[in-house]
């Protein structure tokens, strides 16, 4: 940091209004940077391959389209450097933890990530729903019955989704259209998440500013929020998911709650309730708020911090927020029926009692009476809790849902609900994931929480509670890392800014030669006053210590930025639909098998051809191939999924009637054996077996897919059940012919396949993508001669050796 910059910044920071403007500019730069960093994949590639995102984005450069690239990147770096210089001009402090360690951890984590990665597919459904909303209007959308999914059941889509995301993009779409800006709904959907990430950075700034008087903390929080990989993972361009807007709403609702609580203001409480309603409309994770706010209130009460501010804020939020949340059809009466929402209701009632008691206490000042009343309150609370338990067990209130149980017992889902356990983002978090997603913040975070304990106001209690809660849940489920990230950013920003404030105080007394009451020299005061605004500012004035700490912190910040850049460009910017690899000469090669096959389905099959596949691909098929599917990622009907699992894991003779009954025309499997793509169906196969076994324990047995030695094999040693299962046959059918005899190799499972490949009689291969990732089979119609398929196929094979040209025998009259 050159002295000039400091001078300029110091002088710029003199007037209150200039300071505000400066802060605003920096904040908008940060927000812009946050947005830009999410467009990585769009920026990096040449125009032709641009935007191969989850939802692929195609910018139509109707003007000179070269605005992108360097410009955005330089904006990003400029923003970071400005912010960093602003910060570093204020001070530093160091801590344990070497970045190189965390980086290597990150790399290890990435490797493990590659193994168990589930394609992110929700964006495809959301995109499809948004298109429907834009095309048909809001009321049609509300009543949308989708007969192209869950064939033949259909899905009441309008009543079973969170409409917030679609309505948001629909509103933006119509607003832009009204301004005659010809924007495609696809582009809005792709860019919604980055746009909202800018808002999230802003919300993090506001939330942090409530916590600490240090003006730099908010800016740091905004930066952290903008580039923390834990949040980037869900807000890159194209990840058009509920989380895209929900994290902004989460942070902003918390900010409004803190505001309402601090001021005891009904207005802020109402705003908080409104945003809570928006959040409910957007994401199932709203339950996090529903539980966290009562918990905060409860902790405050237990600490003896009950106040009318708390009463006003909480009751306003609860009454209006609950009403707002009940407007969403999917939520409906859940807030008064299910256990997840009961804490909020309980605290609401408890607060009423407290308010009453508070009033009574102020009216009758008697010590004994007061004690009695406190006991009375406790008793009532206990009774209420007991009533809740009774009501739950009696069935008036729905018990905790399975997904919720799995939050407490990580082994629960594996035993009871395999369908939840089969999703990789519902797995417990591996510890390197914390370093991967948060890097430097993970060691700044506890320091920030510690600082919150230092001056424990109501809002600091919130951070403490949130930190505990969030950390626990993030440890239980990979996905919930997302809810932890905001509080980590806030806490880390508090600690980092307090460091910077202490160590980079420009106004050193030796410059002014201010004798005054400096009874300590710099090095001692560092311990006592990390942040002290009421006392006269004491700081560290030794240039050496200042320089060391500032330099170290700069290095850490830069490393953090580099880590985030690296993570974003490597791990989170490559969509799962498109796999990027390198050719031997270093050029980029894109493996685009999914879209190849989906486009083939879309163009060259009947409009209403039913596609059977494992549920992971349902949304993709619905979105990209535009064909009806049997099951999809909205896993509302476990039995239907189990039916598909049974069809996949049984012999052809068993599967064929199932497929006929469901009018299946094509079966789609994902096979990674040729390419070494590990997320394929054979690796997911055991989940299909388990889910099917849950419904038909007599017909599908997981044990039979393992060899007597307990191995899961696909080579010659595989069990008969495995070899005869439809999934195995579809995956390896005709695969031998690619290799010299006896050399067929599965590159995922590293095993050599049997010399004679499987044969199929009831289905036939219809399409296989370039790298064999997607294989599509056509279900044969009933045989013309009334034979069963196995004998018909055998007959065809037998004939083929003699007369290749003729497929069928001469026509004969059948006489029964």
């Amino acid at each position: 940091m050159s002295a000039d910059t400091l001078q300029v910044l110091a002088s710029a920071g003199k007037g209150e209004s200039t300071r505000t403007i400066l802060r605003f500019i920096i904040l908008s730069l940060i927000a812009g940077a946050a947005i830009a960093s999410r467009l990585f994949s769009v920026i990096r590639k040449c125009p032709l391959s641009a935007g191969s995102q989850l939802l692929s984005w195609q910018s139509r450069p109707s003007r000179r389209g070269q605005l992108s690239g360097l410009l955005r990147l330089s904006a990003f770096w400029a923003a970071l450097l400005t912010a960093a210089s602003f910060q570093v001009s204020r001070a530093l402090f160091t801590n344990v933890g070497s970045p190189s360690l965390s980086q290597s951890c990150a790399r290890a984590e990435r490797q493990s990530r590659m193994v168990a990665d589930n394609p992110l597919v929700d964006p495809w459904f959301n995109f499809r729903a948004t298109k429907y909303l834009v095309a048909n209007g809001f009321y049609k959308f509300w009543d949308w019955f989708d007969d192209r999914t869950w064939h033949p059941l259909g899905r009441v889509t309008g009543g079973t989704l969170y409409p917030g995301l679609m309505v948001t993009s629909g509103a933006i779409y119509h607003a832009l259209r009204a301004l005659t800006i010809p924007v495609d709904i696809r582009n809005i959907c792709v860019l919604l998440a980055p746009a909202f990430s800018g808002l999230t950075a802003f919300a993090a700034y506001l939330l942090t500013n409530e916590m600490t008087p240090s003006p730099s903390a908010g800016l740091l929080a905004a930066i952290f929020m903008g580039i923390a990989p834990g949040y980037i993972s869900r807000s890159v361009a194209g990840s058009y998911d509920n989380e895209a807007i929900a994290i902004f709403l989460l942070v902003f609702t918390f900010f409004l709650w803190i505001r309402a609580l601090k001021q005891g203001s009904m207005l802020w409480g109402v705003l908080c309730a409104l945003f809570y309603g928006y959040m409910v409309a957007s994401w199932g994770g709203y339950a996090f708020i529903t539980c966290l706010l009562p918990l905060h209130a409860f902790v405050l009460i237990c600490m003896g911090r009950y106040s009318t501010r708390l009463y006003v804020a909480y009751t306003t939020w609860y009454a209006l927020g609950t009403l707002a949340s009940m407007q969403i059809p999917f939520v409906g009466f859940l807030p008064v029926k299910t256990s997840e929402h009961m804490p909020a209701l309980g605290i609401f009632g408890f607060l009423q009692l407290l308010a009453f008691l508070d009033y009574v206490r102020s009216a009758i000042p008697s010590r004994q009476f007061q004690t009695f009343l406190w006991l009375f309150a406790g008793g009532t609370f206990g009774l209420g809790l007991a009533a809740l338990v009774v009501a739950t067990s009696a069935g008036f209130i729905a018990p905790w849902s399975g997904r919720f149980y799995s939050l407490w017992d990580t082994g629960y889902a594996k035993i009871h609900i395999p369908i939840i356990a089969s999703v990789s983002e519902h797995q417990p978090t591996a510890w390197p994931a914390f370093f991967f997603d948060l890097n430097m913040l993970i060691w700044l975070f506890p320091a920030g929480v510690y600082l919150c304990f230092q001056n424990l106001a109501d809002e600091h209690v919130f951070i403490v509670v949130y930190a505990l809660f969030g950390s626990y849940f993030a440890g239980v489920m990979v996905r919930l890392m997302l809810t932890l990230t905001p509080v980590v950013c806030v806490a880390a920003a508090i600690s980092a800014s307090s460091l910077l404030d202490t160590y980079l105080n420009v106004k050193s007394p030796n410059a002014e030669e201010h004798p005054a009451d400096d009874n300590t020299d710099g090095k001692k005061s560092g311990k006592t006053g990390l942040k002290s605004t009421s006392k006269p500012v004491v700081g560290i004035y030794g240039w050496l210590s200042k320089g060391t700490v500032a330099g170290a912190m700069t290095v850490y910040l830069l490393l953090f930025v580099m880590h985030c850049t690296w993570v974003t460009s490597n791990a989170y910017s490559s969509p799962s639909v498109v796999l990027a690899s390198r050719m031997p000469d270093g050029s980029q090669h894109i493996i685009d098998d999914y879209r190849e096959a989906y486009q083939w389905l879309r163009q060259n099959t009947k409009e209403d051809a039913k596609i059977m596949s494992w549920w992971d691909y349902g949304y993709q098929i619905g979105g990209m191939a535009d064909r009806p599917t049997l099951v999809d990622n909205n896993t509302w009907n476990n039995t239907h999924i189990a039916t598909v699992g049974k069809a996949m894991s049984s012999r052809e003779e068993v599967s064929y009637p199932i497929m006929r009954q469901h009018e299946v025309d094509y079966v789609l499997v994902v096979f990674g054996g040729l390419l070494g793509y590990s997320g394929d169906d054979i690796n997911k196969f055991l989940w299909m077996v388990r889910i099917a076994e849950g419904i038909w324990p007599d017909e599908v047995k997981e044990r039979e897919f393992f060899t007597p030695r307990g191995e899961y094999r696909v080579d010659g040693e595989a069990t008969e059940t495995m070899k005869n299962s439809l999934m195995y046959k579809m995956s390896y059918y005709n695969y031998n012919s690619l290799f010299p005899p006896g050399q067929a190799q599965d590159r995922v499972r590293q095993s050599r396949l049997p010399e004679v490949g499987p044969s199929l009689s009831t289905i036939e291969e219809a399409f296989t993508s370039e790298n064999w990732i997607i294989r599509i089979y056509k279900v044969k119609d009933l045989d013309n001669f009334g034979r069963d398929h196995a004998s018909a196929a055998a007959f065809d094979r037998g004939l083929k050796k003699k007369k290749a040209a003729k497929k069928r025998g001469p026509r004969q009259l059948r006489v029964d």
Partner: protein
């Protein structure tokens, strides 16, 4: 096919009868058939089936046999052909400067299956005079794959039906029909009894079949003939091409976007697609009837190309751009076999100075290719083409002219489109054409329009004005005191 042959045979009988009665009467008496005022003294009919559309050339020496000067010559077509014909051009073979020929497809008798191309000569021909006409046109969707479905690695054969005698509304004294084929592998073709020193028609020379010369045939004479030939190339057919050209004066840019609905009209696969065979054939037998790749030679200076389809960006493309060429090579997501469809979109930008020029009196002239499809060795045909030229907001007095045969242009319109903060909307010239082929690519489309300075300054002023209004109104509202109490 058979019915139409019978029908036209009956028709030829009719027309055999009618001339005798019509000759003496006035020409205008029976509008359902053209008056017999011409005789084809000599006619050479060249049917070229080398590409996936038919190109026909009729070189005819016509003679006015009536008493009056004549300037209208008619060429008969079946109604089916009339819907598939395109790019009709007429020239004087002897005299290249002999003015423009007016060409138009007309329906003389709505009940009849026969329709006519009316050729208006630039100057009426005196009685007894002769002129050599060179008539060329294209027929789309002309072939049938035979067999209709084949295996993935088999050869594709197409069949084409035509008349060995050139269809004519007039008596033809002498004629010859040549069929040019893409290869020498012609397993089947119609054989006709020969005349003169030739025993049997056709005479086969390499890749050419020659029927004739025949002696005098009456008007409407028809001799069904068919040829089946190897065509192991894709039969690519674009059912609809939408081509958008957007001119921006402020950006100094012309943006192109083309949306193709492509279908392969060749033989279907008798078995399902086999990836193993396909992967092998890429190395061992690269000659295939599947469409693998398309090359778009764009104008030099084209930049920022993109290639997408309904799912999104397609990664299998390359763009080579240097001083001499700008070649966009794209591959469909999957190889295209007979009956398979693949709609896609491509687009690119170019500097306005490559296409746009200001005239001395302040107007502008835009000169762009009417059609810029792929250049394929096997050709490509377009059934419907819609070209939209979006001119800047406020452009007026729009005129256009094109070198694409006027008989192929079905309609032209001026529309208004509002985009990008427009207030009165942009002027859009929409030209619809049909039955074009890739040989007509690079034919010019010249659009002239006026674009006053006031129109170009409209948008900056309006944006500035509305922003100012917004700020001022915010400022005014911000200064209002809405509080109940004030200190």
């Amino acid at each position: 096919m058979k019915t139409s042959a019978v029908f036209s045979a009956a028709l030829s009988l009719l027309s055999l009868v009618s001339p005798s009665s019509a000759k003496s009467t006035t020409p205008a008496a029976s509008p359902s058939t053209p008056p017999q005022v011409w005789k084809n003294a000599n006619l050479v009919h060249i049917i070229s089936v080398e590409k996936n559309y038919v190109k026909e050339n009729i070189n005819v020496l016509v003679e006015n046999i009536s008493k009056q000067p004549q300037d209208e010559y008619f060429l008969p077509l079946t109604a089916d052909e009339a819907s598939r014909i395109g790019g009709i051009e007429v020239k004087d073979r002897k005299n290249a400067q002999a003015g423009p020929f007016g060409v138009e497809v007309v329906e003389l008798d709505p009940k009849s299956n026969t329709q006519y191309v009316r050729i208006k000569l630039p100057a009426a021909l005196k009685a007894g005079a002769q002129q050599t006409l060179g008539i060329s046109y294209y027929l789309l969707k002309a072939y049938k794959p035979l067999p209709a479905s084949i295996k993935q690695d088999e050869q594709q054969f197409l069949s084409h039906s035509f008349s060995a005698y050139c269809p004519s509304a007039y008596t033809t004294s002498k004629q010859k029909t040549e069929v040019k084929l893409p290869s020498a592998n012609i397993p089947d073709y119609t054989k006709l009894p020969g005349s003169g020193d030739v025993k049997e028609f056709p005479v086969k020379q390499g890749t050419k079949l020659t029927y004739g010369p025949f002696d005098e045939k009456p008007a409407g004479a028809f001799e069904p003939a068919q040829v089946r030939f190897e065509f192991n190339k894709p039969v690519s057919h674009v059912t609809e091409l939408e081509r958008d050209i957007e001119v921006s004066h402020w950006g100094g840019n012309v943006a192109f976007e083309e949306r193709y609905t492509l279908i392969h009209r060749g033989a279907n696969l008798s078995d399902q697609f086999n990836r193993v065979k396909w992967a092998q054939s890429v190395y061992y037998a690269p000659n295939t009837h599947a469409l693998r790749e398309m090359k778009f030679p764009l104008r030099v200076g084209s930049a920022d190309p993109y290639y997408t389809d309904v799912i999104g960006n397609v990664s299998t493309s390359r763009f080579r751009s240097n001083k001499r060429e700008a070649l966009l090579e794209i591959k469909p997501r999957y190889p295209l076999f007979g009956g398979w469809k693949y709609p896609f979109t491509i687009g690119w930008n170019s500097d306005a100075k490559n296409f746009l020029r200001q005239t001395v009196n302040g107007g502008y002239i835009l000169n762009v290719p009417f059609l810029e499809g792929p250049r394929q060795p096997e050709g490509i045909e377009y059934e419907q083409v819609q070209v939209r030229v979006t001119l800047p907001e406020g452009a007026e007095n729009v005129k256009y002219s094109t070198a694409v045969p006027s008989s192929s242009i079905t309609s032209d319109d001026i529309e208004v489109q509002k985009t990008f903060l427009d207030t009165i909307g942009r002027t859009v010239l929409v030209i619809k054409a049909r039955n074009l082929v890739d040989e007509l690519r690079e034919r010019e489309l010249i659009v002239s329009y006026d674009y006053p300075l006031s129109a170009s300054l409209r948008k900056p002023f309006i944006v500035f004005g509305s922003a100012m209004t917004l700020f001022v109104s915010t400022w005014v509202l911000g200064n209002l005191n809405l509080k109940f109490t004030s200190k």
